[in-house]
Symmetry: C2
Subunit: 209 residues, 2 copies
């Protein structure tokens, strides 16, 4: 059985948990205590020298630390239901919107959060090296995340899902962004399409995985 190193409250591993839940994939779940910086300890460094969660260890021992690497592998091994598009055009649309929800959404919120939250002094980035918080970067991250909300709202005009006409990986990354935005108190109020879509994808059983 594959091993999944997880931390339930953290945004990043939730992406992969939802992806696996949609496909009904079962893994051995091992919690890593980020609150106590277990990810920076020697034991976890041997598993994942990047000191990040999630980590997926395949049955042959291969270690994956990137959400996209895990998604591509799992989509190949467990193709139903497809979460990355059914044809070249759809696959491109999923990658396009997944990348935008990540770079303009999730990572912008992460910049805002990690560069301002009290528990993250000197931990402004993930990884083995400590970097001090940059208050201007927290502000910029918040501005960038705010600027992405109307983009997403416009994209969702008349659409049920972000990338294609069914639920895909792009909706997962979008959902993580929308929930993570709450951590920096970014309101979704003026974004009716985002709100409608957010309620719908949040009500899927996989959202509580």
């Amino acid at each position: 059985m594959m091993k999944f190193y997880d931390c339930t409250p953290a945004p990043s591993p939730r992406r992969t948990r939802i992806f696996m839940a949609e496909k009904g994939i079962e893994v051995e779940n091992i919690q890593v205590d980020l609150g106590n910086r277990e990810q920076l300890g020697d034991a976890y460094k041997k598993i994942n020298p990047r000191c990040t969660v999630p980590t997926l260890v395949l049955e042959d021992g291969t270690t994956l630390t990137e959400n996209l690497a895990m998604s591509v592998y799992l989509e190949e091994m467990y193709p139903e239901p497809p979460l990355m598009g059914r044809n070249p055009q759809e696959k491109a649309a999923v990658m396009e919107w997944n990348a935008r929800c990540e770079a303009e959404g999730m990572l912008a919120v992460a910049e805002a959060f990690r560069n301002s939250a009290k528990g993250f002094v000197d931990r402004a980035t993930t990884g083995p090296n400590n970097y001090a918080q940059i208050p201007e970067l927290a502000e910029r991250g918040r501005a960038r995340a705010s600027a992405f909300l109307p983009v997403l709202n416009e994209r969702l005009e008349g659409r049920e899902f972000i990338a294609t006409n069914e639920f895909t990986m792009a909706d997962i990354t979008g959902l993580i962004f929308a929930d993570f935005a709450g951590w920096i108190k970014l309101p979704l109020d003026d974004m009716p399409n985002v709100k409608r879509w957010h309620e719908a994808v949040s009500s899927r059983p996989s959202a509580s995985a």
Copy 2:
């Protein structure tokens, strides 16, 4: 014929140019004059509201603005030679190392460069909105890029290519990172495996695409 909006000296569109050159894909090449901020003008905004290069316009009019979206589409339509892996394990390895070369390499150099170069005052990020430079972020980007070089050097110990046993998209992103690192004068001198690999991939015909 597909249209490719390009700017030859810029790092990002070169990724896709090399990808297409390896597969022998021909496109209509349209240069966008970033030096004169043509990407921020109304005409280009109608093509790509993100104001970034590259943009790939497919024959059906679909517009792609993300390197990964273009790569996935082109790999599906022009499968030979494969640049994203031949089986699930290889596909995962390509995504894993492509993402690392991008996030820990390319984007770290971009942070260092855009937050310090004279021509980028108020243009510290790509996109339609102006953001001021953050000198501390330039320093942090340089530190992060420097920290990735030994990681890449260790990965390339005894290996010809970064992700699998043949040239893939991860080598393209790695090459862009290594060349872009020269823009911030990051030396490769103490990284013998990176230097050997860099010389080999730089000598491929696609590298001058």
